[in-house]
């Protein structure tokens, strides 16, 4: 546990000092600021994130689990949000999509419900 704490503090130091973090899943080293200056919270390549803040009680979380993207939500403005789910504690978060996020994975998450519908979709063609 102390070892993970040490590596975590080193990671946060890296984000503060040189502005990069390495993805918890694919290991890609990415800059913490996206192209348009927005602070990044998920890997642009595999869209995975890390569970660092507690959304129910607020403040930092000690889970540090990997968060995988499970859904795309659309705001009223038309912007996309990625819904992440922690693989350790099942907490959900939503984060805005960055401009350089992997469009293939985004589209794959968006169309995944229609690939395996729970009922036949043919009837909706008549509507």
């Amino acid at each position: 546990m102390s070892n993970t704490k040490k590596t975590l503090s080193r990671t946060s130091q890296n984000i503060l000092k040189i502005g990069t973090f390495s993805c918890i899943r694919c290991g890609l080293t990415v800059s913490a600021a996206a192209g348009d200056g927005v602070r990044r919270n998920h890997c642009p390549s595999c869209l995975h994130s890390q569970h660092v803040s507690d959304h129910i009680e607020g403040g930092p979380s000690d889970c540090q689990g990997r968060m995988s993207p499970i859904a795309i939500a659309v705001l009223r403005t038309g912007d996309w949000m990625v819904i992440h789910r922690c693989v350790r504690c099942d907490e959900l978060t939503s984060n805005p999509v960055c401009v350089d996020d992997n469009q293939l994975i985004l589209m794959r998450i968006a169309v995944r419900p229609l690939a395996q519908p729970p009922f036949p979709l043919e009837t909706f063609g008549d509507l």
Binding site: I56, I70, A71, A73, G78, I83, R85, Q103, P113, P117
Partner: protein, 143 residues
């Protein structure tokens, strides 16, 4: 004249057969205690749902209520806000999950769909990211 009629009425009430014992109690903890009225469309919903043992959203408009905190079913949240269906997610086994977001505090939750959920609203929710033509243009699907 009203006096006499009242007395005959009271006599008839006294001679009446006592009311049959009720074994169905329409009160908290009794019959249909867990039924709820939807906060979105005011539909009366029973807890018996096909395909699931935990009905947690309205089958007509998919709205829910923010009552659980961390563990599903703990009823520990003090928010009680309305949760509206935000997006659709899929489990690895292919089952659809509705992502609800609380309109009051922004909390998210994922819930399984039930067998009698409104199919049209479910499909509208699933195709919502694809309705915007801007994303198709960004993906170079259309010129």
């Amino acid at each position: 004249m009203p006096r006499r009629s009242r007395s005959t009425h009271e006599r008839a009430r006294a001679n009446r057969r006592p009311q049959r014992h009720k074994d169905v109690l329409h009160r908290p903890g009794g019959h249909r205690a867990n039924d709820f009225r939807c906060v979105g469309c005011r539909l009366d919903v029973s807890v018996e749902a096909p395909g699931t043992t935990h009905r947690n959203h309205c089958p007509n408009c998919l709205a829910s209520l923010h009552v659980d905190r961390r563990i599903p079913g703990d009823r520990a949240a003090s928010c009680r806000g309305r949760m509206e269906a935000l997006s659709m997610s899929v489990r690895p086994d292919g089952e659809w999950m509705i992502i609800h977001q609380c309109r009051s505090c922004g909390e998210l939750s994922a819930n399984r769909i039930a067998g009698d959920d409104n199919a049209l609203i479910l499909v509208r929710l699933a195709v919502k990211p694809l309705r915007d033509p801007g994303i198709a243009r960004r993906m170079f699907l259309v010129p």
